[in-house]
Symmetry: C4
Subunit: 261 residues, 4 copies
């Protein structure tokens, strides 16, 4: 059987336009939209699962246990890395995008676009949940646990995100050795962080995952914890990665940027 239309990804525009430099510009622009779409769709999936598990739990009278709630988003990130990590790097998290940039694996010029795409994806997910279920379960918001207080929640978010970004940077830089199992390490870390620490701070580790439900439920009181904590933890992990691995590697840049040309 023949598939005459099957070929490797290559925008057809390239062959239609005689002017090479213009084609290249168009090409880059098409790829940029691809990356934006990937980050938005991937972050939508992450937030709809992470926040949605709380919402569905509330809607169903407690059918979703804490263990189920925290494992599901980790597996979602694993799947997203597998199905579109080569498109955008599958950051899905401003703390990750900024850490990759600070680590010099990712160009600062692309950071604003990624943050916008992630925010759009996260807000779309929270909007979907509110349209489906109202503000049940606080729309899956992350808040400091009972008796924990803002400061301890902040410290926990810093620690958890330091571990997460250490895992992400460390597996990215070693891509030659670790290969696609990096998705297992990253997804597994997200799951385990919730397994042991969710009752303290919600184990968000991601400003957009926390901001989107807070915005849609109209309570931004504790959102700052989940912006400051993950960003700070990410920067500490960048420092640790420097100690552990030295200068950034090409493998890390490839993992952070995807493989689109």
């Amino acid at each position: 059987m023949e598939f005459p239309h099957v070929q490797r990804p290559d925008p057809t525009v390239h062959q239609r336009v005689p002017d090479g430099s213009a084609t290249f510009g168009f090409l880059k622009s098409a790829q940029a939209w691809r990356r934006m779409f990937a980050e938005a769709w991937g972050t939508f999936l992450l937030v709809v699962v992470a926040a949605g598990a709380d919402v569905v739990g509330a809607q169903s009278g407690g059918a979703i246990s804490l263990g189920m709630k925290v494992v599901a988003p980790g597996m979602m990130v694993m799947a997203v890395i597998y199905f579109m990590g080569t498109v955008s790097g599958a950051h899905l998290n401003p703390a990750v995008t900024l850490a990759f940039a600070a680590r010099r694996n990712f160009p600062w010029s692309r950071v604003p676009g990624y943050l916008v795409a992630q925010t759009v994806g996260g807000i779309a997910a929270a909007s979907f949940l509110r349209a489906m279920f109202g503000t049940l379960g606080l729309l899956g918001a992350t808040t400091p646990g009972a008796g924990v207080g803002d400061l301890r929640a902040l410290v926990m978010e810093v620690l958890l995100t330091t571990g997460l970004v250490s895992t992400i940077l460390g597996t990215a830089s070693g891509a030659r050795n670790i290969g696609s199992n990096a998705a297992l390490a990253v997804g597994g870390y997200i799951a385990l962080a919730g397994l042991w620490a969710a009752p303290i701070s919600g184990a968000s580790m991601n400003p957009v995952r926390s901001f989107a439900p807070d915005l849609l439920r109209g309570d931004l009181t504790t959102t700052w914890i989940y912006v400051v904590g993950p960003l700070l933890g990410g920067m500490i992990a960048v420092g640790f990665e420097w100690i552990l691995k030295g200068k950034p590697t090409e493998a890390g840049a490839l993992a952070a940027q995807g493989e689109l040309k």
Copy 2:
């Protein structure tokens, strides 16, 4: 030690018949039966696990928790992809077969055979469960959760299947990079979809998985939700894949069709 009888898969008929073209026709026919058997046996296993967990849970007075029920079918699909993905592509789901065809990774001419084999496998699984346990636990049927309603269940099936088929198409197209870990991504996605969303719609994502128990218990009232939702979600995912990856790839065709010649 010698194994004179050990060799690579190669139907012996090939050597018995002098007429090459006839042999090739017979060969293709034998491979077609292999694919049919693979889809039927694989779908049997998926449905017997997914529906059976509910049935066994009812039979044992609740020994199977929701978490156990939803993780088991995901692991079953992972195992099936590993043990016979190279034979038939291990679709196990009409929504997947149609999405592969719409994505031009799979020939439309083989679609009817796959749908028949999947339906036969699913009905055999539901028949097995009924013979063993009667119609306990509604034979593992998927239905909208209490207080959910048909429309919200439909929307949830659309969303969940969009994510599933995104994962399947995206890992198939990147087979060169992802290798056999695609089975982990797909199996993991099926598990996580149930972990966060099963109380809403049952997280079927598969017309045959829902139709077979409904047929055997004699209640097809809500079956349409699980036909329309997954098929619609699958088509949305085909569109998303076009945005993310552009034209279909040879790797995707290989993953969708298996490796039999």
Copy 3:
């Protein structure tokens, strides 16, 4: 830094004895003991985990949930395949050894030794548990669930083992494609079989895993179910593998026999 003593596995006796043929005989004999030890130690670990989870659950007043009990042995088999699959093939189960032989991936002449080693390992595990905890929790015996009856338990063991041996034979024959992820498929299958079906028959799928606790607790009434069921299921899976893959492959023989020369 130098490791003058580090080299690839190669019995030193080989260099001490001038007579080549005698050396080779000794070499083969040493490797045979290695395989025996591997099967005994691996089966010990499998049975001590599978039966031990019930015993520890009874000893601790129910601290081990059904989900924990059935997932642990699956992960144990995964780890054993990884750490010594290349030594003996890591069968750990007479139903697997006989299926590999019937599939012509494994020489019949080695079958008796494997069955003895597996039985010794299983009895050692049950003896360890009895010495530590008495016959608490029926020593982890598998028995038909309440209200199930022998026949339905037997049918369930046949079905579950057909799936297990399909997974084992199918991933072994495709070793070139699946690589070491076969351990995930097999370990995952063992876990999922328990997740959905343990209340019916205990999801043993392994004559030694059931015989050893029955022997040590002195009740062999239902042991036959767990001998007949797994052996029958294994043979069905051999037939299925013939349909799916045709003649046995070298990759399958390598997986079944390990890589020792």
Copy 4:
């Protein structure tokens, strides 16, 4: 896009110093600090998760089930092996370091530094937990279960660690075949040991994981069990590995020492 500063890890000092031998010494010293930092940070993460799950469980009124408590540290070790296994070998455990040395995969001269780094990391983790939560949940200490007694706890730690170190040594020696899936085997083993046996001894398998909380809570009564048991189990596993695999391999040395030059 160009990354003029991106290159493979290579301390820049090398180019600044004209004296080759001095450079090499400095280089080795820098790499030694990297290994120390890796072992300290990795052991911190392991202990903060393993002990922290108990502490958070106590702080949150029991929100963390036993299954969650024991799976989280296994996944943490998996992630650590992936993100920095190539730096230090990711031992995280004196029983592992001593077993690698006894197996001749790791130089005895580096053992003291590793033990110090692991101890520092473990104490830092216990200190963090005490600063955050006081001595709630006994700071996550491992102790013999109710009605178990010291001797049975000791025997269980010996058995569990024999399995753990068998898994570690066996997957390290077979690195050519198993590749980076060794992290799944080791992390999976740690999780399963807790799943079936945690109520007996806590399933520590690691002197530092037990010593650090005992030190910080001021009760070293049963610490000896978790020093003697794991060390003894590790040595038995070294003997088993000799039987299974014969002489140590270069692959094992590479896995044990990391890939820094």
